[in-house]
Symmetry: C2
């Protein structure tokens, strides 16, 4: 077993998580959550999405969130990023003092059409000016690729297709490309084959794993890709955000569960697990939902 010594967690609970919760969460609660997450040692928090409140009412307060974080931005050790799907969103984000943004592509044509209403090629063309403007403003850009191990409409997705999209995002200037198993159908063998294909186009140091736990396989898949050198993992405190394609099922893998795995492997993430578990318990109570982290549940039962 050859694992990385350190893993960087990109906490996506506030954005990818709360965006998929049925009820919008108020801005003060979001900011309190973000601060608690940062205090637990998380150094990269995706905090908002600059999309139309018509489409995503859960993210309507993107300006208030990013402005509040920008004020403490200079002295903060934590990077707060925001999703900016188009130039309009990016300009608004820049006005709020954002230092890092993300763009979101898909490896599945059907998913791209249904999710962002254009082909993969069109979406990449749309990102080009976003990327250019961001880099010009000195803002880093992270790229997402969704459906990397399966699509809710097409089923299997070719690793070569994922590799091609990852390569395009990287060539456009994304400093990191996050590979999203959007529907959680990944398995260890699929994950290995995926990385084999993608690392031929983008070096493993510039890749992240964003695996959903819909079928309970996320940790095992993360284990196998860490064996191949992946050292950046996207996860969501308390497993916030259900799976939008299967009612009642889980979405994002819980950060607490990932940290427990990392600790067991002797991998440092800088996160205080006990503190994080308390934060996960707190936000679950705030939302009146069950804690989606098994580690969180087990630890809180002991405290």
């Amino acid at each position: 077993m050859h694992f990385p010594e350190n893993v960087r967690i990109v906490e996506v609970g506030v954005r990818d998580g709360l965006q998929n919760e049925p009820t919008p969460v108020d801005t003060a609660t979001k900011l309190a959550l973000i601060r608690k997450l940062s205090e637990s040692g998380l150094r990269h928090i995706e905090a908002a999405s600059f999309v139309s409140p018509k489409w995503v009412p859960q993210m309507a307060d993107h300006r208030e969130i990013m402005q509040a974080l920008a004020i403490e931005g200079e002295k903060s050790v934590t990077t707060y990023s925001a999703l900016t799907p188009n130039l309009k969103g990016l300009e608004a984000a820049l006005e709020c003092g954002v230092r890092e943004v993300a763009v979101f592509g898909a490896a599945s044509e059907s998913f791209s059409q249904r999710n962002i209403n254009c082909s993969i090629a069109e979406s990449l063309a749309r990102f080009a000016p976003v990327m250019e403007r961001a880099l010009e403003a000195g803002v880093r850009v992270r790229g997402y690729v969704s459906c990397v191990m399966g699509c809710p409409y097409e089923g299997e997705i070719s690793p070569l297709q994922v590799a091609a999209v990852a390569r395009e995002l990287s060539d456009m200037g994304c400093y990191e490309v996050s590979l999203g198993d959007t529907i959680g159908t990944g398995t260890p063998l699929k994950a290995k084959r995926l990385l084999e294909a993608v690392t031929r186009e983008v070096s493993v140091e510039r890749l992240a794993a964003h695996f959903h736990d819909t079928y309970g396989q996320a940790l095992t898949n993360l284990y196998t890709v860490m064996e191949e050198g992946i050292a950046v993992i996207d996860s969501s405190v308390a497993g916030l955000g259900g799976c939008p394609y299967a009612k009642g099922a889980s979405g994002n893998v819980a950060t607490e569960d990932v940290i427990y795995l990392l600790e067991g492997l002797g991998i440092d993430s800088g996160v205080n697990l006990a503190q994080l578990a308390r934060t996960g318990d707190w936000i679950s109570r705030q939302l009146g939902r069950a804690n989606g982290s098994k580690v969180g549940q087990a630890l809180m039962a002991k405290y």
Copy 2:
């Protein structure tokens, strides 16, 4: 990766699962569950425990259950086993026509004392006549060792201690020794170190993994021990049975989640996952509990 071609599942939901559910389940429902499990392709089902109903009211109907199963026993392709902690229990089980029994030891002194009220050595001495009588009656004996990767009272448990208990059970005549991560605190590295120590005393073909999912790590731990040759896995349909040491937390790993992992690795178990998921959903509804299998939840949301 070197995985076994086939894995045998020992379904423990009816015994280890229902024993830890707060409310006793009626005999007819148990028998219906057992039949559905067998129809889904499970070939080894632990169905009852011959213990005093004073201590374990959930298992009070052990005679009715095992007698009913013995009637179809001759023509059944499924093995139905029962826990028999002492000679009295074994004699009762034999009267019911049981063909396989199991004894239950611990790798932790404190756990043995608090759980079965005697030292490890005393428990093993108590098993000797049980084992002798069972083998004489032509009945196979399976051995369990609990707390193999941690104890709720002692914390860490030495792999050498586990190996010693496994060796004693094997020497006494157990055809298989199941290693129980009772509190689910195992990690991949612990699991590897455990197997390294135990396989020096008992060959890997005679070992099974019985991992709890309290911290969400069970599948990853199973993945790592299968890499080391483990080909028998204990699991519980719908994750029946919470963790008795942490309210609200999970106990047994869900059989559906294990089968999904196996299918992804190309490992055959003979189980029809769709049929099993329906059974898991059915029993969860019967018990008025949430389905503890992520795969079960995801599949049922699609059906």
